[in-house]
Amino acid sequence: MSGSLSTPRIRIPRQVRAGEVFEIRTLIEHPMETGLRQDGSRTVPRDLLNRLVVRVNGEVALQAELRNGTSPNPFHVFFLRLERNSEIEFAWTDERGRVARTTARVTVA
């Protein structure tokens, strides 16, 4: 694999009420090859996303360390609560240091 990581997909509300608990769903297309799989006689080379970091207004809220047992196209759901308009940043990193990043703005009514 070469080039950049694929564009992540995020499902997050654009607007929430202050103090409301809301759900965020994230998905990024990636084969998550462990280096253990055989394709015929050939071993498919390892190619793994190993980190997802979620920041709220620059502060780390959740960090995931992904290992072999995480499925291809890593999918994560978690919950947040905001008191003011916020910028949420999502960054996936692979073992070669490539980063896929996206941000979402959430308005607090």
Binding site: R37, V56, Q63, A64, G69, T70, S71, F75, H76, F79
Partner: protein, 149 residues
């Protein structure tokens, strides 16, 4: 050539230690699991309970097994879940993921999808901010293995 001699030695060692009931591969998996757990939580002794796992009893596709984890926690600065670790007991390697949580998360809840090679137990450990560790285990049957295919 290959690993055969060491397997034989391991078998002999296992037999000598009275562990012959476990085939060598199961023994190696137990060792790998114990090492992976020690790497995350040291020698902390986990308490059972306080974690709800949402998993299917039977996973049709071992490559995409939904896993939901909810840890009972007020998620305050003083008292929150610091980390959730997921281990697959009978995959080629036991590590699935670790999640580092903060009080910015109002619920200690994470959902993801995991790979399971065969029928097995999934072990989830939650490290609390006070240093205590909780444990929950789910038994999952796998119709089609999801690691090597």
């Amino acid at each position: 050539m290959g690993p055969t001699p060491s397997l034989t030695r391991r078998g002999a060692l296992g037999a000598a230690l009275g562990l012959a009931v476990l085939p060598w591969s199961a023994l190696a998996q137990e060792e790998a699991l114990a090492a992976a757990i020690r790497e995350q939580v040291g020698d902390a002794v986990p308490e059972e309970g306080g974690i709800a796992l949402r998993v299917p009893a039977v996973a049709e596709n071992g490559g995409q097994v939904p896993l939901g984890i909810v840890v009972e926690s007020p998620q305050t600065q003083a008292q929150h879940v610091a980390a959730i670790h997921v281990f697959a007991t009978r995959n080629p390697t036991p590590g699935v993921a670790s999640f580092r949580l903060t009080p910015l998360l109002p619920r200690a809840e994470v959902q993801t999808r995991i790979r399971l090679a065969e029928d097995q137990r999934v072990v989830v450990l939650a490290q609390m901010s006070d240093g205590s560790v909780r444990r929950a285990v789910a038994e999952i049957r796998v119709a089609t293995g999801g690691c090597l295919s």
